[in-house]
């Protein structure tokens, strides 16, 4: 392919990593050089991803003794990975551009850029890897950068970082196990050699574990609960790039790798128990995360819960194992990356300009930040599923697939859509409309251009991918499925009018609900209070806010219990060693010391007793 | 072996033994004991037990004496008056002992002779015969001879260290 072989592949990993390492060695003050370096690296990354587009090639080398275990350094691109690489490149470039402005006066800029570039390198590597173990290597590397990024704001962010490390680590552990079992079941670790392992026997374990690894990275339940905490504690570009975009891209990439009909690692068929399990996880993620999002009173936290709930749609769509569902899931993934980043970026703009994201302190920002408001509105309408924005189309595809797989999943997805719309109506109303209210000074200006440009590009993409949805669907997504499409084309207006009508009714209901709520409480922020404080729900919400349902907290309680038992056992053993033995030894020794009075006669008596012992030994042996 | 020499040796032994008990200086007492051992060794040799004689010589005349000397030198001196008081007491108690021993010894000897027991015939016929005392002493046990030399050196140094310096101090 004319010089585009391995060299280009590997540059996608090497160049960002190298740039990151160079940044680590640059002095802290060289802000411009660093920015330029990040800019160049991400731009290079994006251009390479574009150039690589259309290239389908595998490249692989054997090395020393490791080859005996099937761990080769093998890379490949196919339609799926090209598509993901392109999305990664675009998002990485835009967020990098944005962060130049956002991080200008932050002292952790250097560390952020370092981790950022390394993260991009690792994501590229994980997507490019053809060998499962190689992929695992990059995958685990991301855990390290995640941990590092969460600690950027200082040591006091430790609990959140540990929480993320634990949850993502558990899912990575599952993936590791899954990779092992998959390799065992398939007899090879090369992904292009593994196709459609039947999900039976040991392979069930392999499938479930790999699936857990994939959705764990994407931030689905039950590995989600670190994301809202990170929203409070991590720098905002981090939220936009990792939980907002890259992690979703990577997690869904692997999920599709596993589940893709025909060419996936496992034979994943519709209407099977495993499919139902995956869909159930998706549906539950949608419902619970969006329900939590509904009641949030903080811009970033609210968004972070949506970052979780949207994963539910993707998992639900792919979990149906129907072509329409997978196309819908992938499309939703791209759309989510676009509008969720845009939303996080607008949250960042608000945070930077007003100094807070607490919705109780700010309102009516639209007057001061009109561009931010418009970008926010476009993205919010997208995520809520208003036509003709991109979110509407991908959601409709997922609805279609869910309807076909089981009405219960459809209802769950619909409920999610209702609450999504309601929560964004509340958020938009509270933040940008209504009586202007600002934290301290009234001199809030529009965000700088470097922050606005990425937001505008993303908002434009929302509209573009909605109006011209045959571009992403036809060029990027449907080729991934290849023959499995069976001649279908899902581009254009949704094919099932009934579902569209229902969706629009739901949206109208959400608007009605909003006005009811606003009328009831008199302010935008209180638009969903009647749901929040409804009898029964109130109780559950309170518990949820107290993190009763946080799997991490439950895990911690369980592990604390085990730790308590282990501690008890350890103490007991320690007591035996440190307390009991020492006590015995000390008292014996003390006794001996007191016994050893220095009296000669006593020594003689001991010696005689020794003599008796010897005589006894001989007496026993002679007889 | 003729009886007079044996009796003479036995007599010497009694004298040495009594001296060891009666002499007031512990050091001289120890030397008397060594003399006793030497006489005993000679007696054993004449009675046909050269090995026993040799061992007696090594152990009692050599080692035990040195140990005694060391031991005595390690113990502190009692005040003169107290010491003399002790010795006087002891002398009074043991005055009759030599006479008693002598009478017993004479009686036992007479009894043996009267019963015709040949003293020289007591020796064990199975015991090894050595060509000469010289061979036994200088050749076969030469390691012990070396040992004796060193023991005597040790005794000498013990006296130097423990007595001489004490007198100086």
């Amino acid at each position: 392919m004319n010089g585009l072989g391995f060299n280009t592949f590997i540059y996608l990993v090497i160049i960002p990593a190298l740039a990151g390492i160079v940044i680590l060695f640059l002095p802290k003050k060289e802000r411009l050089i660093k920015s330029l370096l990040v800019f160049a690296a991400t731009l290079f990354n994006l251009i390479t991803a574009i150039r690589l587009f259309g290239l389908e090639e595998t490249w692989h080398t054997k090395w020393g003794g490791l080859s005996n275990f099937g761990i080769d350094f093998a890379l490949r691109t196919d339609r799926l990975s090209m598509f993901i690489l392109l999305a990664v490149g675009a998002m990485a470039f835009l967020v990098a551009f944005y962060s130049f402005a956002f991080l200008r006066d932050k002292d952790y800029g250097k560390g952020f850029y370092f981790y950022y570039l390394i993260t991009i390198a690792f994501v590229n590597g994980a997507v490019l890897a053809n060998n499962l173990v190689l992929m695992l290597f990059f995958w685990e590397g991301l855990l390290v950068t995640l941990f590092g990024m969460l600690l950027l704001k200082g040591r006091h962010k430790y609990p959140t970082a540990v929480k993320a490390l634990t949850l993502v680590g558990v899912s990575d552990l599952a993936l590791m196990l899954g990779v092992g079992v998959t390799g065992f079941a398939a007899g090879t670790l090369m992904m292009d050699k593994i196709t459609a392992i039947p999900v039976e026997g040991i392979a069930v374990l392999g499938f479930v574990m790999m699936m857990l690894g994939a959705i764990g990275k994407a931030g689905s339940m039950p590995f989600h609960s670190w994301i809202p905490d990170a929203a409070d504690d991590a720098p905002l570009p981090f939220m936009a790039i990792l939980p907002g975009a890259l992690e979703k891209l990577l997690g869904i990439y692997l999920l599709v790798r596993i589940c893709l009909p025909g060419t996936g690692l496992y034979e994943f068929l519709p209407h099977t128990p495993v499919s139902t399990v995956v869909m159930a996880i998706g549906a539950l993620t949608i419902i619970f995360a969006v329900a939590m999002a509904l009641i949030q009173k903080d811009f970033k936290r609210l968004l972070s819960y949506h970052a979780i709930s949207q994963v539910g749609y993707m998992v639900l769509g792919i979990g149906t194992a129907l072509p329409i569902g997978i196309v819908g899931g992938l499309f939703h993934m791209v759309n989510n990356a676009i509008y969720k980043s845009c939303l996080f970026l607008s949250a960042g703009a608000v945070e930077r300009q007003t100094g807070t994201t607490d919705l109780k302190k700010i309102s009516g920002l639209g007057a001061f930040m009109p561009v931010t408001m418009i970008c926010f509105l476009v993205a919010a309408l997208s995520i809520s599923g208003f036509p003709p924005f991109n979110g509407f189309f991908s959601k409709e595809l997922v609805f279609d697939a869910a309807m076909e797989s089981g009405i219960i999943f459809y209802i769950a997805a619909l409920l999610g859509a209702f609450m999504t719309a309601a929560s964004f109506l509340k958020l938009g109303h509270a933040a940008f409309f209504g009586k202007p209210q600002l934290p301290e000074d009234k001199k809030v200006k529009e965000a700088p251009a470097a922050m606005l440009v990425p937001m505008i590009i993303l908002a434009a993409a929302c509209i573009l991918f909605g109006v011209w949805n045959s571009l992403p669907l036809g060029q990027l997504i449907q080729p991934v499925l290849g023959d499995a499409m069976a001649g279908h084309n899902y581009a254009g207006w949704p094919h099932t009018p009934l579902l569209v009508i229902i969706s629009i009714i739901v949206l109208i209901l959400a608007i009605a609900n909003h006005f009811f709520g606003v009328k009831r409480t008199g302010k935008g922020l209180g638009a969903v209070d009647h749901i929040h404080y409804a009898p029964g729900l109130h109780f559950i919400y309170n518990r949820a806010e107290e993190r009763w349902f946080d799997p991490y907290e439950i895990l911690m309680v369980i592990s604390k219990f085990f730790a308590w038992i282990a501690y008890g056992i350890d103490r007991a053993i320690d007591w035996i060693y440190n307390g009991f033995f020492v006590w015995v030894a000390n008292s014996v020794s003390k006794g001996l010391k007191e016994f050893n009075t220095g009296k000669q006669s006593q020594y003689v008596i001991w010696a005689v007793s020794g003599l008796l012992i010897v005589i006894f030994v001989f007496a026993v042996l002679v007889k | 072996m003729n009886l007079p020499i044996l009796l003479l040796l036995l007599g010497l032994m009694v004298v040495a033994a009594v001296a060891a008990v009666m002499i007031r200086s512990l050091l001289k007492s120890a030397i008397a004991l060594a003399a006793l051992s030497i006489v005993l060794a000679i007696t054993l040799f004449f009675l046909g037990a050269p090995l026993a004689a040799l061992f007696e010589l090594s152990v009692c005349a050599g080692l035990i004496t040195v140990i005694f000397i060391s031991a005595i030198s390690l113990t502190g001196n009692k005040p003169k008056e107290e010491e003399e008081e002790k010795i006087r007491e002891r002398r009074a108690r043991f005055l009759k002992l030599p006479i008693f021993l002598l009478i017993i010894g004479v009686f036992v000897s007479l009894a043996w002779i009267a019963n015709g027991i040949n003293i020289s015939g007591i020796s064990d016929p199975a015991a090894p015969t050595f060509q000469t005392f010289k061979n036994l002493f200088w050749n076969m046990r030469q390691v012990d001879i070396l040992g004796q030399v060193i023991v005597i050196l040790a005794g000498a140094f013990a006296v130097v260290v423990l007595f001489k310096e004490r007198d100086q101090a």
Binding site: F618 | I67, D144, I150, L153, L162, R166
Partner: protein
């Protein structure tokens, strides 16, 4: 070659004798000033000659060298076969290894004694020479009675050395040692007498021939063995015969306690056990079992009793009891591997215990106390002492790759292999215990919080420093080249 051999073998007795003659026959002043240097020459000479002797053994591939000391006897062969003859010395690998240790520890002792006043120096040298001759003789004899004679020489010389300064404590310790030693002598002598009476001979070869493997013990044999075991156990300081040992170690002057702890008591007791276990009573089961039991008791007792001690030297004394237990364990467990382990542990023990006694001397001279409760944080002021004592303590506790680890390992493996797994377990446990209390000492004395009153303390110089460095180097090097040492014994066919 024969002439060289004659010089080598002769030097082991002749050299000390020569020094005694020269120093005492010259005029007083010269004699006194020459005494310590002469002693150093003797010690180094002994290390060299024993090294050459080992080389000779390796070259000739023979197990031992026999030689007479005064003059050659004509019918050597006939006398050698006699059951009563003690006409010649005999050295084998064990003898040479322990004699090397004798030379080494003597050298250290003299270096430690450097500061003595001249009067003392002469007496010290005289007695040291007697002691060296006694111990060399002990290492070379091949006859029970001669063994006894040299045991006594060693004993007498050390009594006087302990009481060298004639302070109250020294006299007391010496006296206790003397009394216990006299008991031991009586038992050993009685044992030898009975042995002679029932077997008709006293040479090692004669007696060992009478203890055929598997045969049951004659009652008089048993009585004789009981007396010998008890007597030697007192000399060795095996629990519960050990009462005198801590007192003697504690009360002796610094340079003498190096000698006592490093080599004398080991020669008097442990070497005798090694020798008898290897050459004489190898098939006498009661001998092995009773000593195995006593050794185990010693290991545990020494380790436990050391815990509560406050005096540095007393701790070392109790640790010695424990280590003696290990050596005896290896010697009597009945496998060649264990014997090699015991021999090497003997040597290693001489190295590290000497180091520790030198450390104790250094501390005493600089800090003026031996009570570990009063010390603290001295490693900063005394880096050499601190480091060498850490090495020695770790070697004692058996931490790889130091010398003590290997020999202890060999012993424990051998004990395990011969089926005494319980005893091996106890030995391992006690070893861990040793480590624990030694680390405690480390922390307390060298690495604890620095005491202000020791701010002016300086590192030792001269002989003490040299000995610490030398011994530490030996400990480390011996640990590193240990596989080579084992290889040597393998080529000698001893394992």
């Amino acid at each position: 070659m024969d002439n060289l051999l004659l010089i080598i073998t002769g030097s082991w007795i002749a050299l000390p004798l020569l020094v005694i003659l020269i120093c005492n026959l010259l005029d007083k002043k010269t004699g006194k000033s020459w005494a310590l240097p002469a002693a150093i020459v003797v010690s180094i000479g002994q290390m060299i000659t024993t090294g050459l002797g080992l080389l000779q053994l390796g070259l000739t591939k023979s197990g031992f060298i026999n030689f007479t000391i005064f003059w050659n006897v004509n019918d050597f062969e006939e006398i050698a076969r006699s059951a009563w003859a003690s006409a010649f010395f005999s050295v084998d690998t064990l003898s040479l290894v322990v004699m090397f240790a004798i030379g080494m520890v003597s050298l250290i002792s003299v270096l430690t004694a450097k500061k003595m006043n001249p009067d003392k120096a002469l007496n010290f040298t005289n007695l040291l020479m007697v002691l060296i001759m006694g111990m060399n003789g002990l290492a070379m004899v091949a006859d029970l009675f001669s063994l006894y004679v040299f045991l006594e020489i060693t004993g007498v010389a050390s009594f006087i050395l302990i009481a060298l300064y004639k302070d109250k404590k020294g006299l007391e310790g010496s006296f206790k040692y003397l009394i216990m030693s006299a008991m031991a002598s009586a038992m050993i002598l009685a044992g030898i007498a009975i042995m002679n009476a029932v077997t008709g001979g006293v040479t090692f070869s004669h007696i060992s021939g009478l203890f055929a493997s598997g045969s049951s013990l004659h009652t008089f044999h048993a009585i004789s063995l009981v007396l010998l075991v008890a007597g030697i156990a007192i000399k060795a300081g095996l629990a519960p015969f050990h009462g005198w040992l801590p007192d003697a170690y504690e009360s002796a002057p610094a340079s003498v306690s190096v000698l006592l702890g490093g080599i004398v008591t080991k020669m008097a007791g442990v070497y005798a056990i090694l020798r008898l276990a290897q050459d004489v009573f190898i098939n006498a089961k009661g001998f092995n079992y009773s000593l195995l039991l006593l050794a185990t008791v010693s290991i545990v007792y020494g380790a436990v009793a050391a815990l509560k001690q406050k005096d540095f030297k007393r701790i070392l004394a109790y640790s010695s009891i424990s280590q003696i237990g290990y050596i005896v364990l290896g010697a009597v467990c009945g496998s060649p591997l264990g014997f090699i382990g015991a021999m090497l542990h003997f040597f290693n023990h001489a190295t590290f215990k000497s180091t520790l006694f030198v450390n104790s001397a250094a501390l005493e001279s600089q800090v003026k106390t031996r009570n570990i409760e009063e010390m603290g944080g001295l490693a900063k002021q005394m880096p050499l002492t601190g480091t060498s004592s850490v090495l020695a303590l770790l070697s004692t506790a058996g931490i790889p790759p130091l010398a003590g680890f290997w020999s202890k390992l060999l012993i424990i493996i051998a004990v395990w292999q011969t089926g005494h797994s319980l005893i091996a377990g106890i030995a391992v446990f006690a070893s861990v215990f040793t480590l624990a209390y030694f680390l405690m000492i480390q922390r307390k004395v060298f690495y604890g919080p620095a005491e202000e009153k020791f701010a002016g303390v300086r590192e030792v110089k001269g002989g003490l420093a040299v000995s610490q460095v030398m011994l530490s180097v030996i400990t480390v090097v011996m640990g590193i080249i240990f596989p080579l040492v084992l290889l040597f014994f393998q080529t000698r066919g001893m394992i």
